[in-house]
């Protein structure tokens, strides 16, 4: 069975500072990895994905994520945080056993960016 761990319930960072939201995964076979963001009372918005290739992937709103196979991690990063980045962030992995269709999500990390 596959799983995703987001070890921090909340991350606090000052505006302008770099941010990192952590994610580790467990899955048999090669993982497909995703990050989503959820603003209050909204559905999830896709940020970025890793399928294959370059370990550093770039996504929407200046976010990027680094795939590290040896550490089974896929941390989300941004060089300079904005107050508007404050939201709930979810990491997800797709399972090779469902034809790459279904996603398993982590429990989410709330990012709070202080002015």
């Amino acid at each position: 069975a596959q799983s995703v761990a987001q070890p921090e319930d909340q991350v606090n960072v000052a505006e302008g500072n770099p941010l990192t939201v952590k994610c580790t995964y467990s899955v048999s076979g090669n993982p497909y990895l995703f990050w989503y963001v959820q603003y209050p009372n909204r559905g999830l918005q896709f940020l970025l994905k890793y399928i294959t290739g370059d370990n550093l992937v770039k996504g929407s709103y200046g976010f990027e994520a680094e795939f590290n196979k040896s550490q089974t991690s896929f941390h989300l990063k941004k060089p300079s945080a904005l107050v508007s980045d404050s939201a709930l962030y979810f990491c997800a992995v797709s399972s090779p056993y469902t034809g790459r269709r279904a996603l398993t999500f982590g429990s989410g990390t709330r990012l709070q960016v202080q002015p």
Binding site: G43, L44, A92, S94, T104
Partner: protein, 114 residues
């Protein structure tokens, strides 16, 4: 842009009622999904469908059923609602093919069962 719509943003139902949650996508996606979201638990997959009339159980299918009669529409049915089904329900869709697999989500339905 992909658009996934859900029939209600907020819904209040009584215990024992039959509840229908509707989801429609406009991008001709093959795959559709129903999740529930609870604080501290993230999103948990209830059911998904990869084609019309096809469905597969997710991680928490008990107490739920689904229907997909048309490609663009995926319904979640609570046969007899219970208070432990109070939750946020999210529908999503995705394409099938190389380089795809990201899911696109609707705005969610917050269901309260009293």
């Amino acid at each position: 842009d992909v658009k996934v719509t859900q029939s209600s943003r907020y819904l209040v139902k009584r215990t024992g009622e039959k509840v229908f949650l509707e989801c429609v996508q406009d991008m001709d996606h093959e795959n559709m999904f129903w999740y529930r979201q609870d604080p501290g638990l993230g999103l948990r997959l209830i059911y998904f469908s990869y084609d019309v009339k096809m469905k597969e159980k997710g991680d928490i299918p008990e107490g739920y059923s689904v229907s997909r009669e048309k490609k663009e529409r995926f319904s979640l049915i609570l046969e007899s609602a219970s208070t432990n089904q109070t939750s946020m329900y999210l529908c999503a869709s995705s394409a099938t093919g190389q380089g795809a697999y990201e899911q696109y989500f609707g705005p969610g339905t917050r269901l309260t069962v009293t």
